[in-house]
């Protein structure tokens, strides 16, 4: 089981993302996008492709856009190919924004981006912990998970989806995660439970196969129990909720 963790141009969560994969049993490597462009064939050696969080190109021209265009220009076919195989792709935060801008998720009409990531309703950057619930989703990334407590940290985390598309996303069950309130009910857009005003409280989307997951919250930042706010009140567990996502990747190949 090998994971390729992408880096370069302002991506910045590659170390902790790789660490999370390694702890659950993957072998992995951080690969700079320019090296991957030089030698795209190396993708064959990997079963998981992870785009970590960060600030690629400083969010200029919209979060994730510039990096998505770089991939589109240089690596698009290879990545599509990867997504069509029995392999996994995850984009976390900036990685999610990149996947959305590439159109790899939800990928219903297989052309151009169908969804946009826009600025949080609050107009400001939000670094806070949220609760999300897993939809009845067939994605291997989310199997057997019900609720997760994870941090978000973004300026542009609002999913903007045209109405018709939203209908087919729901019909195809492609909503991965939704923000919920302190009573474990959908946040219904209410801040701070839904930190960005995302429609239908969407925090993550998948493609139709479910093997590509684009999520705004950071599972790698909720990996150990001491990552969780006020962990001192509960020291019995070793891991935080984010661990479950990485374990699911392992189980998929096990």
């Amino acid at each position: 089981m090998n994971v390729l963790v992408l880096s370069g141009y302002g991506i910045n969560c590659e170390n902790e993302t790789l660490h999370a994969f390694e702890v659950v049993g993957f072998k992995g490597k951080i690969v700079h996008i320019n090296d991957l462009i030089q030698n795209p064939k190396q993708l064959n050696n990997y079963q998981v492709f992870a785009i970590p969080g960060g600030f690629s190109y400083g969010d200029d021209t919209g979060s994730g856009n510039a990096m998505a265009k770089k991939i589109l220009t240089n690596l698009y076919d290879q990545l599509i190919d990867f997504s069509l195989k029995d392999k996994l792709i995850i984009g976390i935060c900036n990685g999610c924004q990149i996947l959305i801008n590439l159109g790899l998720v939800p990928s219903l009409n297989k052309k151009d981006p169908e969804v946009a990531m826009i600025e949080n309703k609050s107009g400001s950057y939000e670094c806070r912990w949220v609760d999300v619930k897993v939809n009845n989703n067939k994605s291997p990334w989310l199997k057997n998970i019900s609720i997760l407590n994870l941090p978000v940290a973004h300026q542009e985390g609002q999913f903007m989806i045209p109405i018709n598309l939203l209908k087919s996303i729901k019909a195809n069950n492609l909503i991965g995660l939704q923000y919920i309130n302190n009573h474990k009910k959908l946040a219904k857009g209410q801040f701070p439970f839904n930190p960005n005003g995302s429609k239908d409280d969407i925090a993550a989307l998948t493609n139709q196969n479910g093997n590509v997951l684009a999520m705004m919250p950071h599972p790698e930042r909720a990996f150990y129990h001491y990552h969780v706010p006020n962990w001192q009140n509960n020291t019995s567990k070793k891991f935080g909720d984010g661990y479950k996502i990485f374990m699911n990747a392992k189980k998929f190949f096990a």
Binding site: H32, A116, K121, M160, N233
Partner: protein, 975 residues
Amino acid sequence: MTNTIQILSIEKTGKESSLQKEHNNKSIKIIDGYFFSTNLDDQKFTKISKLISNDVSQTILTKKNVNKVLSSYSNFNWVVEIKFLPGVTDNIATTVKEIIKDNLKSSFKSFELGSTKIILIKGRKEDITKISKNEANPLIQTIKIYPFKKYLNNFKKNQFKIEKVKLPKKKYSKKEINLNISDHQLSLIGKLGIEENDKSRRGTLGLDLESLKAIRNYFSTIKRKPTDVEIETLAQTWSEHCKHKIFSAKIDDIQEGIFKKYIKGATEKIIQLRKDNFCVSLFTDNAGGIEFNKDWIICHKVETHNTPSALDPFGGAITGIVGVNRDCLGFGKGAKPIANTYAYYLADPNKKYQLYRQKNKDPMLPANFIAKGIISGVRVGGNCSGIPTPQGNVYFDDRFAGKPLVFCGTVGIIPKKIKGKLSHKKKANPGDIILMAGGRVGKDGIHGATFSSEELDPNSPVSAVQIGDPITQKKMSDVIIRELRDENLYSSITDNGAGGLSSSIGEMAKESGGFIVNLEKVPLKYNGLYPWEIWVSESQERMTLAVPPANVKKVIKRFNARGVEATIIGKFIKKEKAIVKYNKTEILNLNMEFLHEGYPKLNLKTSFPKIKKEKKKIIKKSSLIDKLHKLISSPNIVSKEFIATQYDHEVQSTSIIKPLQGEGRVFGNATAIKPLFDDEKSIALSQAAYPQYAETNPYDMAGCSIDTAYKNLIVSGANSKKIAILDNFCWCSSDEPDRLYQLKEAAKACYDYAVAYQTPFISGKDSMFNDFKGFDKTGKSVKISIPPTLLISSIGVVDKISHLTKMTPDDGDILLVLGNTLNELQDSVYSKIIGYEKSKNPVVNSKDALRTYRNFEKANKLGIINSAIGIDLGGIGIAVTKMAIASKKGLTIDLKLKNKISVDQFLFSESQSRILVSMKKNKLANFKKIFKGSDYTIIGKCTGSNVVEFKDNKKIIRGKISDFAKSYKQNIKGL
């Protein structure tokens, strides 16, 4: 054909919403524009538009649709177009250029482009003027306001232009300066700069007459005239910013100066007293370093960026944070930045001070513009760099109206050994190549070092502002830390900050002997820079490396492969000579000794100042609960959650004690990160400054700062033997004997308390002239000086996760105050808000304090302490309330008082060295054993109800926790 791409968000953006709210106008829309230097045909227009926009959320304006699209939002009638001035860093334009070049490859070779923000409104002209004032800074941006019709016209006729830097084509000929002139003429050079051929002046050199005479003497001995480059270089190298002349000067009878005697002296004394030295690198490098564990070193540095932030708050602050990140990159062989810290000292954002640099013109930016800009600058700098920013604070006082203080700090980590060699040691060897890596050089911040040492006055150059580009720096940093460093490919490294190449190369060359630089090799942002400008430019995101010739090709290749430029610009030599050439002409040739030590040493005298006593204010009568509400909602105590949530403190997955603590999210005094996956040791961080105490007694003020910064780490669970501190003195009028007296007193306290606590200083920085000289709105001349401010930053190692504390008690816990409470209300938050009575200023008794701290540490390690919070602003009353808000659990406080102290004195005194703790009842016996002979008071217990209650013999007063939380979390007016 068109030369502009303009993009509109379909839905209201967050930025638009906040603008609409702020200006109470629903018809505001923002357009992102890109102006090209060349015309785009339809095909290119479509292709490029697609590359830089998202057609789900955005619309591209075209000549055909512009009327229809815009009129669907509103009947706009005014437009403001905001662009960067030529030569100002335009990060968005750089990205767009890169995307286009990558995608269109050779089909589109040479073009320039600039980004712009266009704001449309329906309203009056006054409204658009007001918006433009809030959204743009005339120092770095051009602001054009015109009627909407004209905007449409411009659009249709392609009348948008990008403005390129227009510098006269000039052929450089070596310029020699005659210094054999009158003293008056000589001082003009120092104050206004070197005179150009057209009689204009280059801008202040910050050199005093004595320094210019020293330069004259040197050149008369070597029998030639100095060149302009030589004078500029000496001005940079000798600036207060770089040489810290005041700290190194003889002051009264202190021959060696206060830095050597009190700061470095304290550290030396501590190392001598303690057998377990954990300091690795002190004062000489870009940051100070201590041992973290057996394999790793951590370093810390805190910088100020005050003057630039007064002129361009966003640019100043972002440059401040990415600049201090480079201090870590330049620590030893290059440490990885793992945490940022911040501290802002600002004027009240809700007040209009209306200050002018010149009579009736050149206004200071409004206080809220400055505050917002600074907060955003560090947000963008920190977040974009992928470095968590967990630790910070903000303090407000009218006396910061002329100059805000912006402290930016960074913690770094580096393995002790790299390929078997000690990583904190570095040495540029003779023959090593001088390599400049990172961004290009422009006119950014010319005269920054010399100018930040000067007071802000009408002649301050406006070009002294740089804007940081965190992404360029991140790319460079990744190559250095991940690829080059661990292969030992270079022998030394330092950053380019104040003074640019002249400082970085000048400093590094001390390691080898000297240097030869060929300035024409330096890559430029645009043509037309004079050699002296290239040499002293403060363009950001650059590191200077000393690379053995055999590795140079490899190093450059690595940088280039990651999209980073790296250029050979000279070499280090053995001979102790500083030599700079420009196209083979030698334009600088100085002895290294003279370059670094040739400046005239100051001889300072101090005198006892008149103490400005706080004016008596009648204590307003109100209930205790009311007073608590007033205090907890006051700007200096109120929650800073709105900053904590916009600064990413979770990146790198190291956050272990977060800025917001407890379920009720209280803004903590200290935070902690756990930097290594395979070691449970953590780093605790805190900081403290008490400018409000400074005028009464600067010695005690400094004592309080050290005590609080130290105490906060003890409270968080740090090992008292592994705590180091940093000093940042921000002073005012440091040429006046009474200010120097305060400085000397504060520095003396630094020695006394650091030695008493055995906590060494490892690094520091000072900024000595934080004064504003200008005019008020009536044209009357005013001088506003900051109160002397000493920021002490503390960094400590927490040995085990289980040592980390929390501030939330559990039901049934008993509450205790450790330490003694005295009537020390002078200069307190209480005295400012409620009123002032006869009282004393807080004084630290280090013996008592240490006893408390050692006992606390012991009790905490034994698991006796359940929760703890340091008591500072607002005293016990505020600490108790914060504990209740954090835990959402009721507390009851017993007000049976001893020592003839009144209820208000007991609850609001700011006596130092106190900790509020809670513990389970069954731990009390063990606690008492440990604390025998140490001051503590049992003050109440945790009831778990929804109120905080205060009981004395007669009555019980209650306040609801949810009400206190509301007061504590209210917005700061003006922000």
